[in-house]
Symmetry: C2
Subunit: 280 residues, 2 copies
């Protein structure tokens, strides 16, 4: 397992690294970023995963997310993976921003021509944690939490709900809470997974909760001026489903905020602190 260092930069009393490696799951080179706060030699720090949204790479949150100050303050390692396999040999949907490269939707695709490379579920749940454990000595893999934005909020909720023992807390900015019910999700799940909607349910936070998944620590922030709220995000569906299930999630509507990093960066420090309190 060879890791190539793309860059290591001092920032906010820590080291912001960008690394690439050959992924067995996706069959491609994958790039991700890791911020490690300064720490005593041998000390172990908890790990917060952050999954990004449509069109993003690791770079968007790394440049605009404003997480480093809070991570340094609370002693949290921050890992930001890419959103899909990439490369000339990877099937893509030309001119579609919401499918193919940059839009992996955190699934293991079962349909051709996507099944070979589009294995972002296994990449995030299995392979990348091993890479982190093997290459970031300070990472305490017994203390992990997960967050994400939009498509990555969907990723954080579904991965967290499927693995409540691994992730102590789940948070999301403007997540797609019920992809089976909205255009972005119907398109992506339909083409990656096929027309049998039963196979979509493990990739749908609302459906997972309906089917019995539970997590005690869920935090969602959603801007009311978000252009995607009504058609694609439908935050109220998560609220209703949590209510029905007796799940005590914190779901906040933030007046006037949109879907961008101007919104995410505003509440990022609160999310980091909230996770840190649950990571011990």
């Amino acid at each position: 397992m060879t890791l190539e260092t793309v860059s290591q930069t001092r920032s906010h009393a820590g080291t912001q690294g960008v690394y690439s490696h050959r992924s067995a799951e996706t069959g491609t080179d994958m790039t991700f970023s890791v911020f490690v706060p300064d720490h005593a030699e041998g000390a172990k720090l908890p790990v917060l995963w952050y999954l990004s949204g449509l069109t993003c790479t690791h770079a968007n949150v790394t440049e605009k997310g404003e997480y480093r100050r809070a991570c340094a303050e609370h002693g949290v390692i921050f890992v930001a993976p890419d959103t899909s396999p990439r490369g000339e040999d990877v099937p893509d949907a030309a001119d579609e921003y919401d499918f193919g490269q940059g839009a992996g939707f955190y699934v293991d695709a079962t349909q051709e021509p996507w099944a070979k490379n589009y294995r972002m579920r296994s990449y995030i749940e299995r392979e990348l944690p091993q890479v982190i454990a093997a290459n970031v000595p300070a990472a305490d893999m017994d203390r992990q939490s997960i967050a994400g934005h939009s498509m990555g909020g969907h990723g954080a909720l579904t991965i967290g709900l499927r693995n409540p023992d691994r992730f102590r807390s789940i948070s999301a900015f403007s997540p797609i809470v019920a992809p089976s019910e909205v255009p972005w999700g119907e398109k992506a799940l339909g083409r990656y997974l096929g027309s049998d909607r039963a196979s979509w349910r493990e990739y749908d936070a609302v459906a997972l909760i309906e089917d019995g998944a539970r997590h005690p620590h869920i935090l969602v922030d959603q801007g009311t001026a978000d252009n995607f709220l009504v058609e694609q995000l439908r935050t109220h569906r998560l609220a209703e489903t949590c209510d029905t299930a007796g799940l005590d999630a914190t779901i906040r509507l933030q007046p006037g905020y949109d879907h961008s990093y101007y919104f995410i960066s505003t509440f990022m420090a609160e999310h980091v602190k909230w996770h840190a309190e649950r990571l011990g």
Copy 2:
């Protein structure tokens, strides 16, 4: 004086705006950003100018500068102009990142073909303040401070030193402190201003201080891992000159930090707070 709103986005309990206008000084459309914290109707807030470095537009600091939280906390308006005139009709130096468009060096050029458009000194000192005063009702133009990075640190120091009554405090991240003495500055000042080095002195912080300019509140942060430190920035020249002049400047070397926004964003909140204390 017509101002076009490019965007207005809620962020960090304030409004991040991007605007464009026709500049009489540069003869071009100019774009800039303004962050205005939430405030009581009729309240007046001080203004912090931020001048950017080579190749940058208003967008770099607006996206990566991490100033909004501190500005909202301290009630400071943050204005980020572009670094030069731009457009197909504006003379440029093709393939030179350190001259022409994106590299105005905050001078009023006297040499052809630059003299017509490259009037960034007058644009920043005179025209844009009028635009802000006329269009940002909360801006208290009696309380201004100025900051900048690299070429913009040079801009902040020289504009601040020439106008100590207008700018209550000056801060800079990795500034070019003596452009007359380094390759970036010799190239830019030589071509914008001509070969008479006496005409360069009002655009050189070290020379201005040698010639008698004074300011009671100067703060500089410089990373020790900055690739440009030895050849282009030469922070020690400012320290020596301030010492000789009896000027009580705070000049800090920050171990391990480089020239990028990973460095700037680390110390931005401290700079905003430092200015806010001097802006009352």
